[in-house]
């Protein structure tokens, strides 16, 4: 177990270093000058050149890279080229919003998706199965910004149950109001994925010999499905949840924009549009770190779900 963790940590470091280098180079290859974007189209070339010097963009790329790596090793991600605020401060201010949205969406996805998948599998080719498959297909093909607008129209404008600007804080009620619609929006898409994976994994498991044996022994069907069947079907479900967690963070941008919530997705898009190199670099490191940690957690969860899985 310990050697597994050490290997994964080393792998994570290599991944981080590679991502850092790639992001550093890529943002500089993309056309667009941060100084021009910051100062706008009225700025003179002299002002732009002065800002480039101040931002260190006139120095050789290798020198910029060494400075950047040195800072990164010391935990200094620099300051945003656009706002002048420390990158880490900007990220930490919005990170809790993204984590919160992602986790609640994932919970909704699991709570809806797993039982629905199991239910569909145990009722294969019946109305329930067709309905679940149709529902999950709709969830997968429905653009999140459209479902977000429909949710706002229904629950914020017509029923007036929730605010349009989903960024309230200060009390449990306010939190509940802010998280519900965005989390449902993302959660239902997650549920669609999980339903499909759970259904197919359960169909495979339910045709196994040990399931037939359990049924023959007279074990109640509910126990066969939920205790014996689902536990063995969980590995692919955990894989999809782990993979989707990373995707969710990236995909949350449209939900953040439509529900007017702060978040990492909006920060990345803003940094990209404004060519905020330092912010993009810092964001990518955070994002990579999250993906690495989620993958590690997924691997560890395999062992918990199935004791036959050994982490070596």
């Amino acid at each position: 177990m310990i050697s597994f963790l050490i290997r994964r940590a080393a792998f994570a470091l290599v991944t981080l270093f590679t991502v850092l280098t790639l992001v550093f180079l890529l943002v500089r290859i993309v056309p667009g000058d941060p100084a021009q974007v910051i100062l706008g189209d009225l700025a003179s070339q002299e002002a732009i050149a002065a800002l480039r010097t101040r931002l260190g963009l006139d120095r050789p790329v290798f020198e910029q890279y060494v400075t950047f790596l040195g800072g990164a090793l010391r935990g200094d991600w620099g300051v945003s080229m656009v706002t002048g605020r420390p990158v880490i401060e900007e990220v930490l201010k919005v990170l809790p919003w993204t984590i919160e949205l992602t986790l609640v969406s994932l919970v909704i996805g699991c709570v809806v998706g797993i039982p629905l998948g199991v239910w569909a599998a145990t009722n294969r080719n019946r109305v329930i199965d067709y309905a679940a498959r149709m529902g999950s297909l709709m969830g997968l093909s429905f653009p999140p910004f459209v479902s977000a607008i429909l949710l706002l129209l229904g629950f914020a404008i017509m029923l007036r149950w929730f605010p349009v600007i989903s960024a309230r804080t200060g009390s449990v009620g306010a939190w509940f109001q802010s998280i519900t619609l965005p989390a449902i929006n993302l959660g239902l898409i997650t549920a669609a994925y999980i339903t499909r994976v759970t259904r197919s994994a359960m169909l495979e498991v339910l045709s196994e010999d040990y399931v037939r044996t359990a049924k023959a022994k007279g074990v109640p069907w509910r126990a066969v499905v939920w205790r014996h069947g689902l536990r063995n079907a969980l590995i692919p479900v955990i894989t999809i949840v782990g993979l989707y967690l990373g995707i969710l963070i990236g995909n949350s941008v449209l939900t953040e924009i439509v529900f007017s919530r702060p978040g990492l997705g909006k920060l990345i898009v803003g940094a990209l549009n404004q060519r905020d190199y330092t912010m993009l670099q810092g964001m990518m490191v955070i994002y990579t770190l999250v993906v690495v940690l989620v993958n590690l957690a997924t691997d560890l969860a395999y062992g918990v779900a199935d004791p036959r899985v050994k982490l070596t």
Binding site: V30, P31, G32, D33, Q36, V37, I38, L39, G40, D41, L42, A43, S44, Q45, E46, A47, A49, A50, R54, V82, T83, G84, R85, E90, K93, V94, I149, L152, L153, A156, I157, L159, R160, W161, F162, P163, V164, I165, A167, R168, S171, G173, A174, F176, Q177, T180, I257, V258, F259, S260, R261, P262, G263, K266, L267, V269, G270, N273, Q274, R275
Partner: protein, 514 residues
Amino acid sequence: MRRTVCALAALAALSAAPALAQQKTLNVGMATADVGKLDPHLAAGTPDKGLLHWVFTGLVRFKPGTSSPEFLEPEIAESWTVNPTATEFTFKIRPGVQCHHGYGEFTAEDAAYSIKRAGSKETSAFSADFASVAEAVAVDKSTLRIKLKNPVPGFLGYLANYHGGNMVCMKAAEEMKDGFGKKPVGTGPFEFAEYQPQQYVKLKANAKYFRGKPALDEIVYRFIPSDATRDLAYQSGEVDLIYGKQDQTWVQRMKALPNTVVGVMEPAELSSLYLNTKVKPLDDIRVRQAIAYAIDRAQLVAFKGALVVRPSVSIVPSGYLGTDEKAPQYPLDIAKAKALLAEAGYPNGITVKTIHTTLPGMQTTIEAVQAQLKKAGINLDIELVEHATFHAKIREDLSPIVHYAAARFPVADVYLTQFFHSRSQVKTPTAVTNFTHCNQADAEIEAARIEPDLAKQKALWATAQQKLIKDVCGIGLFEQLQVWAWRDSLDLGYELKGALNLSIPITEKTRFTK
């Protein structure tokens, strides 16, 4: 389970009910994901500028609701004198003007510092506007003297609360340095109170504002990048004033809402095509004329919507000091366009490339232009790129035709200099936005700049426009106005016709009537 759901729904509904005490708080919805730097000398984007002109004041101001230099009136400066050659301005600073957050009284020293700061390329995006300032000195606590190297048309307007004219308090700016953009200190009716990333900036009323305490207690400037969400937030009552879409259907939809006022205001952004006169086939004036003859302005206006768009009158937006309002633009004449192409040696038509932004409003325009040019046998090859890339590529001179929409300080000199003077040619050390490489009106532009007689000055600007239009350096398409919507219970306190900062001025008189 049902009880739990009902309880949660009730809790949500109760918390969603709008607070009754909102009448003293103005909630504004702005089309941005966040603000950039809140330093008025660096803020070039509409979302940042739109907020800062409630915080900062200038030596003079555009009368609230107007955007023309003819309506300039005293602000921090209560009076001023100008020498006969318009190269020396002496301002009397209003006594008792207080800087926000206890930074003390605003004096002539602060004003001199502010002008030097706005003119420095190290600290200002608008340094070019102050390039002609020879000196700005505080003669005494209440007297400021500015000497210019040469007369600058409409110079007084540069000292209004717009771009570099925003007055900063010296002590605060020096104390905070780069941090000034995080906690701006001005002398306006509202002072900075709070910033929440990606959510809002909160301003509170400046009780010591020299025109009197504002009627509103607070402004919450919310960042709502999605157009649809901004509209819904307005309908749900969460915001009272929203930045609109420059779109006819949006205006019509908002006008249909109860208790809603839709403001369509100046300054208009002139949408133009700039043709690079140094590359083939555009180096042939007959080809450029063919393009000009193929443009149908009336159709473009009908396409974009007459409520928000009007046809261009020149290559300078209408209403600017010095715009030739009846400039001889090329009329629509497809037959003539085809004949000119044939005469230039292209009987089968031509293909010309343009690099263009993916910004939806601009993209639909260039696609409409593409369809119009096609009728004359001109194939416009559009390469779509994301907005920052577009700005980079057109400045590298990679787009033979540039479609650009802009509003500038409302004096013809600014537009003519930036878009048509040889010093502004792209890929030069003094580049601004001359994508055409034209220089045929340099003499008139320069002469007009130092011409003391207004009539002669206007005549020089008119000649410059006529020359540039005749040689088809630029082709004006249409002018697009700014749109905002607000509740009819919000009394702005003035008649709104325009606002140079592109957002609604909120003054000490702005209040809710209900």
